[in-house]
Amino acid sequence: MIYRETGNFVTNYFKDREIFPMKFDKVVVILGLLFLFLYVPTTSEYFLSAHVIPILAVGLATVGLNILTGLTGQLSLGTAGFMCVGAFGTYNLMLRVPDYLMSLPVALLLSGIFAGLVGVVFGLPAIRIKGFYLLVSTLAAQYFVWWFFNSYAWFLNYESSGVVAIAPKFYDYWGLGNLLGVDMQGYPARYLLSLVVCIGLSYFAKNLLRSNTGRNFMSVRDRDIAASVMGISVPKAKLLAFFISCFYCGVAGGIYSFLYIGNVDLMIYEVDRSFTILFMLIIGGLGSISGSWLGAIFVYEFPIVFTWIGDFIFQGAFNTAVVENVSNMVYGVFIIALLIREPGGFAALWATTKQKLRMWPYPH
């Protein structure tokens, strides 16, 4: 009823290319942003630390994987490895560069670039190897990175336990917190930083999708030989996709370690996490930025909600093993069912809903 194109007149070409062409969408987006920036930081520390920030971190990694797999068609199982590069990169930049030169946002950015470069190195075989054969390259990245940080204790500042807690002074932001009188280590501040990064990078990704580069990526995905015949440099497109994707994953790793758990721990970047992020991508829908976020929310929240149901309805009948197994079963069923029924994942379901709303009450 209110979701109508009526009255939305496009009067110039610039308006024709807007991300949200409808007035209703614009209002919803602005209200949503106000909600995210003004209301969510005032909710409880627990809600921010256990739900919102981790979703922002893994969702960003999903967006990164989406650029590589969904957009460019290069399968990757090394997501967690690239996140690991980002986390360790951020830590070492903060630790070893003098404080007056380095601050967390800068470190995140630089370690993202570093992760991107590592991604390019492991993406080099993609020039010659195609399809499933490429899995071996990304798995090599995953295992090599993990082993590398495990073997060279320098990167963990010789911490024997393998986990290093992040010192409070790293949340200094050049004294910004003191200046404003805000606790920058507190969860609201952490949340706002990750939110700004995630919204900025999602916006960039969304525009990448609509740009010349994004269309090059998609043509490589759809048929690389045809793309090269049309004059698109396939190696360049693939390597650029690796760089951008791994940049996202690196930043996501930095956010995960610094803004969510507050320590740098190798164990959370094992190959399992690569798979979890792949699930998020498939369930959310390949090639859609909003889908990546929906998938991340679903996959991250399901075990929590399921435990909660167990606690309240069945008096804590589900132990962690049951929750994990049932979650895995549900992810599996969702992946298969969505692939059969709706290959576009949650994003396609959402698009269908919007289309239906636009047409309502007419069927077509």
Partner: protein, 309 residues
């Protein structure tokens, strides 16, 4: 250089290579017949061996348990074909791959949900009176005086099983009518359907056979390592194996397994110092496969791809 030590390392590598090959065969079988990269191979191993072990632990005797487990794997294969693969026929291969990732996830949860997540040991010598299952190793010095190495009898048993599997499968693929239709299907789904090959039946057969291979491989892995979710990682190790061998070649799976097995052991011993750390076994296999693929992108015995727009 210590030659005896080198031989011991080589033998050890060959034996672990055989174990990788066992997993790889199942992969290749499905890829060859349907072009599907079956990521669920590792969880099939887990499901099969866990089902078997739980039954024997509950007092069912060896052969009955083996029979029932094989039956369950066949049913599972047929159900998979009916409800996962068939609706996705003629989809692009990435979608089918992701479906098997979903299948693997489901199966990982399912097998540990209905049984349990504990680590189970398996000792087949308790059930079977075969000399080769005796835990005592063979002392080679008894036979060849200067060769002072140990060979576990079980490894020989595993190699024999793998070898006979290859022979049976090679016969099946090359000489039987089903094998011929399998090869046709792997070439082109549509064309095979057009000439009247019953795609569904063929795939159901393949998935059932793969289930049984997974049971055999699972039992051997269980005896050598144990039954737990770490069996799923067998699939990760089998990846470089099939990629080196070529996705479509069963002999390739064997050769690839042996190359990876030996290369990994030699790498760990002679190259670990170069990289300044232990445990390069973790990633060395992938690098070997990568180096190999850069020079021969279709693997050792894989069919050379001719691509058209």
């Amino acid at each position: 250089m210590d030659w005896v030590y080198l031989i011991e390392v080589l033998v050890g590598g060959l034996m672990s290579g055989v174990m990788y090959s066992l997993v790889a065969i199942g992969f290749v079988l499905i890829y060859k017949s349907s072009g599907i990269f079956n990521f669920a191979q590792g969880t099939m191993l887990l499901f099969a061996s866990l089902t078997f072990v739980k039954m024997t632990e509950n007092g069912i005797d060896f052969w009955t348990a083996l029979f029932i487990a094989a039956g369950i794997m066949v049913v599972f294969g047929v159900v998979t074909e009916r409800y996962v693969i068939r609706p996705l026929a003629n989809q692009d291969l990435l979608a089918l791959f992701m479906a098997t990732v979903g299948l693997a996830t489901f199966q990982e949860g399912f097998s540990q949900f209905i049984w349990d997540s504990d680590v189970h040991g398996l000792q087949m010598s308790k059930f079977l009176d075969i000399g080769l299952l005796d835990p005592a190793p063979i002392f080679m010095s008894d036979h060849i005086p200067w060769l002072d190495i140990l060979i576990p009898k079980f490894d020989i048993f595993a190699s024999l099983v793998a070898g006979s599997l290859i022979v049976v499968l090679a016969f099946f693929f090359q000489k039987t009518k089903t094998g011929l239709s399998l090869r046709a299907v792997s070439d082109d789904h549509m064309a095979a359907m057009a000439v009247g090959i019953p795609l569904q039946t063929v795939w159901a057969v393949v998935w059932a056979v793969t289930g049984i291979i997974a049971l055999v491989a699972g039992l051997l892995w269980a005896e050598r390592v144990s039954v737990s979710f770490t069996l799923i990682e067998a699939v990760m190790k089998a990846l470089p194996v099939i990629l080196i061998g070529g996705l479509t070649s069963i002999p390739g799976a064997i050769v690839g397994g042996l190359v990876i097995g030996v290369g990994e052991k030699l790498g760990e011993i002679y190259l670990a110092d170069v990289f300044g750390g232990q445990g390069i076994e973790l990633w060395f296999a992938y690098f070997m496969a990568l180096m190999f693929l850069v020079f021969r992108p279709q693997g050792m015995f894989g069919e050379k791809l001719i691509e058209r727009v």
